[in-house]
Amino acid sequence: MTGTQLGLLMLGLMLLLMAARVHIAIAMMVAGIVGYATLAGWGPLLAHFKNSAYARYSNYELSVIPLYLLMGAFAARGGLSKSLFDAAAKFIGHWRGGLAMSAIGACAGFGAICGSSLATAATMGRVALPELRRYGYSPRLATGTLAAGGTLGILIPPSVALVVYAMLSEQNIAKLYAAAMIPGIVATIGYMLTIRIVTRLNPSAGPSAPRASWPERWRAVVNVWPVASIFFLVIGGIYLGWFTPTEAAAVGAALAGVAAFLRGGLNGKEFVECLLSTAESSAMIFFILLGADTLNSFLALSQMPAELSAWVRNLGVSPFWVLVTIIMIYIILGCVMDSLSMLLLTIPILLPIVLGLDFWGMDETSKAIWFGILALTVVEIGLIHPPVGMNIYIINSIARDVPLMETVKGVLPFLASDFVRITLLILFPSISLWLVKLIN
């Protein structure tokens, strides 16, 4: 049996185990272990295990992940999400659908200090849903908006998913953050336009709130300063050369903790809760990282990714259709898998294929960055479409009186906006690459 055949066989075994409720990380490990032992024997495999976990977990670039999660946990307690929503609502709440747009804006703002989509959806949902309902927004639009808005957290820096992609593709995280910035803004505007269209077609879905006076508005803006300064330090500090990304994340976590404490949201008990929720979500990620590490050690040994890439290149199919196929694969996988597992599973196999093809004459680094932003955009869609759209469940567990199907229907217009954005990102790589070139 060739390495490629063994590789495909083990991927099949892994999918079978996953379907049978084996933890994703363990399914990856079993496939990796069996494959590695078949190719290289048990001795080298066991020797690999003496250091692999420490080597993976002591990776300096990955140490930002638990720090981002801690920062997000603190930020969620400090009422920072509420001040973001209030500030946006004071400015545009009197538009038709304006409060929903404010919620989108606040999600984008919270995404700028929180690296996780689920945390963004959960935090903003708790803050904005009651307000939207109070002003008579339809449950469908209100819950759909919050579920979709949560996905902005994955794209807008800092982002856990981008850190993982940077590791997998061996790209610079600062460049990837720059590349994600404009697509993140495009996503935010796209969602706001979606609300505009929905409320034009059905004005009763999003009635306007009373107009706020200018002094009220300025007061609300002033309240946003902790968020603004944390974002400036955590992301800006990297580009100004003040800190490494890990140091920046540590500073951000410290500031978010201080802000939460000063606003009375962080006593001893809540501090412990922050640590435990950070523990839970960090471990979830790092266990899959270890599983993917084991699987990828085997795949690299089997030469499968390289051979598959050569095979696709020799097929003579146009690169565009290969890309469309890859996107379809992501959408199908997104029906059963979470976004991070998908990235960890597919990037080592699919990125070599993309790098082996010609897209508008881009160089290798540009292709890797452009594809990363595209892949992230596509996997985030999995968060808001059934059956495993986690954001839908999170919002639904906050708004218990809204039937799940209403939220699913509410998300549909936002999904349409996502597909428009994906098309734009494919056709115009400069949306992602322009800012990267600018900072170089």
């Binding site: 996953m18 379907a19 049978a20 409720r21 084996v22 933890h23 994703i24 990380a25 363990i26 490990m29 079993v30 272990i33 066991l46 295990f49 003496k50 250091n51 976990a53 420490y54 977990y57 002591s58 990776n59 300096y60 990955l62 140490s63 992940i65 638990p66 720090l67 801690l70 959960a122 708790r126 003040w242 890990t246 140091e247 540590a250 500073v251 410290a254 903790g257 809540e270 412990v272 809760e273 640590l275 435990l276 950070t278 523990a279 839970e280 960090s282 471990a283 979830m284 790092f286 266990f287 899959i288 059963v336 898998m337 979470d338 059956p387 495993v388 469940y393 999170i394 567990s397 906050i398």
Partner: protein
Amino acid sequence: MEKIDVIIPGQIDPDADVQQGLGKALRYWVTALALLGGMVLVLLVAMSVVSILGRALFSKPIQGDYELAQMMSAMAVSLFLPYCHLRRAHILVDFFTAGASKRVKHWLDAIAGLLLTVIAAVFARQLFIGMTDGQDSGETSMLLGLPVWWPYTALVVAFGSLSLTALYFTVIELTRGIKGQS
């Protein structure tokens, strides 16, 4: 702020099986490990802030802060692993088995749990060997000269505890699978 629990269809209550006896002891131990990891993380935050301030104000960063950050984050995240399993939060796909009977699910979860128990135990054993290798060779970190096996102790304990936690839930799922109870 009130805590929300996300209810996902078909998901089990993570706290139900660890309220008494062995389960309670396990919960205390594993939570203590997670909090220890959390404190290490907070220490990492404090160290980074002090190092940055030292560098900015007195052009004197903490010596070897990069090395320490690597060691601390490796210890922290591995100490979190058993707690995540205690909360039954390690990710699995339940799409294809959503319609299966409870009994079938208990059996499948027992098998999955057994795989996790064995693999975590293998990791713990190999990491222990890795640790003793490090002790024998006396290898030290580049800047600070710290023995490289030190952080391995946390990983050995973490993976051992992960294996024990998995074993505990495997036995529970197996009993339920055999008895056919929900």
